[in-house]
Symmetry: C2
Subunit: 361 residues, 2 copies
């Protein structure tokens, strides 16, 4: 292995001090022309890369943006990354992607890594919507931050979110309008507010929840589910609310089977994200149930397969590409020096009606 | 916006030259203790990050690895990234992900960006399997390289590939064994060897292709298709070979409709990757055809939906997680100083038999 050449190697060959070589290669401070030439010749001979890294120590700009995704394996982030990447490309900025795996420790490490790589800004999907000390310190380090998918309580930085409450309310209202009265919901329900589902529903019903609550998307979607029932004058049956507790299809599959085993099973299901949707569909497949004849289903997030499944799956499509583009635009403006107050961009999801919803049998 | 603090800022506040501040913060060269304290105090006051970046200029090591994926939106890379990430994490290495979009210019920029960020090694899925000058120069820059999914002609570096020829041959042999004689293939067929399909088939039949040919995976899978026919003593009908020419489901969908419109249509289809598979299934859905009653289908790459589609889709599952892990292991060994000759790891795909293959009607 040929080791990477360092300033010290260049200095040795050029017969100058490391500090002098550093001055020449970094482009700061004084060096005699002859010395300069000597150092550059040595750097060339050794294959030393007079790179943006050394320059960035001086200018403090790298024209690079870092993204911390919650789960790089999730199709949700794929389109977001496409949107971010397209906008950054237009601005001549490079993109470095890291992954938190929805694990706070890994997110802290990812942010630290991007700081070390001197990015000018970050787009983060935070896995801790309450604490997030590592994010609060970024502005002080001169790094611009935009949050995506989730806000952080009290952290006033630009953010791009989906209007989850409205989209879920609309989805469930559609099922009620089709005649359904017993609608099961299969939701992840991890993260904030971390409490009991029953307490949360009481808060929704009493109207004591506010947009300032740092809720995870699946709780916001449960909020919409409850609101749709309220609007239609229907009681919420706690037995129909199933918390997967893990972000995995199999957890949703198990909860779906439990729902269908109830003495009074639901006639329609609402799955609150793409992963839950996969688990629900697997459970229906396990039982050989046909959509929408035996059961209606409305999902959240428009995954590829929902378009060619038979029947096509009705779902609330998040504007993932637009979310990524919006986040990148906000970030570029900040990096360019915009000093406007922080902005919260809340984009609507679109209910795509396919073939999985019909009146109850 | 609070700008990132630079060495020059610290030097100004400390009342020393930029070179002196650089020496102290970079940890190289001489500085009087009083000066040192002055500089560190100024750095602290300004929130200057005495970071790994400055240190890496000295040590030449960053404990960071970069990955260049062909298409970050493709589920194929998602599991590969998971495998890479797991192994790097065990070694305490950070991971930076970039994307080429299967575009050579973007790949060159991604490699350049990772070089600027001083990664110790790269894992690249090369979109040019012949030229790749930007990759040939990496070793000289002290950066270790491992290729994944595709090899580059004459570039003797570690690589991890799927045994595409064998997996495709096995898939098509299975269809022949079920009684099919007219088997359509829907394949991307871009990239090397870039020629006519008819010429390629002649080369396969004459046995003039070798493993040294820098073929794209979809051409290798066509190779397997032809070999299965040869082994069974069946002629290859060029009308049954459909080149999508674009890596998009709709291109495969169009080609599938063309296949099914033939005077003598195929009784079985072989789709050579996950994206082609999606297009084929969409076309079958367009026509209301039922698998495997009306037609048999064998796919390539095991995407989530293939497991819960009705019926389940028979497919050649690439060992994506293992591919990522193997690539990361090879890279870690090189970064640790291994000087063994270059290694080519070729992993088998597993034929997962589900419900989409049956004897012809």
């Amino acid at each position: 292995m040929k080791p990477r050449r360092t300033i010290a190697d260049v200095a040795r060959l050029a017969g100058v001090s490391t500090a002098t070589a550093g001055r020449v290669l970094g482009g700061y401070g004084y060096a005699a022309e002859a010395t300069r030439e000597q150092v550059l010749k040595a750097a060339h001979e050794l294959g030393y890369r007079p790179n943006a890294l050394a320059r960035s120590l001086i200018t403090g700009k790298t024209r690079t943006v870092g993204v911390v995704t919650g789960d790089i394996q999730n199709a949700f982030y794929a389109s977001i990354l496409r949107g971010i990447s397209d906008v950054l490309g237009q601005h001549g900025f490079g993109l470095l992607i890291t992954n938190s795996d929805e694990n706070l420790e890994q997110e802290v490490r990812a942010v630290e890594l991007l700081l070390e790589k001197q990015v000018d800004g970050m787009i983060v999907s935070p896995c801790d919507t309450r604490g997030a000390q590592h994010l609060r310190g970024l502005a002080a380090a001169g790094v611009q931050l935009v949050l995506i998918d989730r806000a952080v309580a009290g952290l006033e930085v630009d953010r791009v979110l989906t209007d989850n409450v409205a989209a879920a309310e609309h989805s469930v209202a559609q099922l009620i309008a089709a005649g359904h009265r017993r609608i099961g919901i299969v939701a992840e329900l991890v993260g904030e507010p971390r409490g009991q589902v029953a307490d949360f529903i009481r808060r929704v019903q009493r109207g004591t929840l506010t947009a300032a609550d740092p809720l995870y998307p699946s709780w916001q979607r449960l909020w919409g589910y409850v609101r749709a029932h309220q609007a239609a004058g229907l009681a919420v049956d706690p037995a129909l609310i199933r918390r997967a507790g893990v972000y995995a299809p199999d957890a949703a599959r198990v909860q779906t089977h439990l729902l269908l085993d109830l003495a009074a099973p639901p006639t329609a299901l609402f799955a609150t994200d793409g992963t839950m949707s996969e688990g629900v569909v697997r459970a229906l497949s396990d039982r050989g149930l046909d959509l929408p004849r035996d059961l209606s289903l409305s999902c959240f997030d428009d995954l590829d397969w929902m378009g060619f499944y038979r029947p096509g799956i009705t779902t609330a499509a998040q504007p993932r590409l637009a979310m990524g583009e919006a986040a990148a635009h906000l970030l570029m403006e900040r990096i360019d020096g915009a000093t406007v107050p922080f902005r919260s961009v809340v984009l609507p999801a679109e209910l795509i009606r396919r073939g999985s919803v019909a009146p109850p049998a």
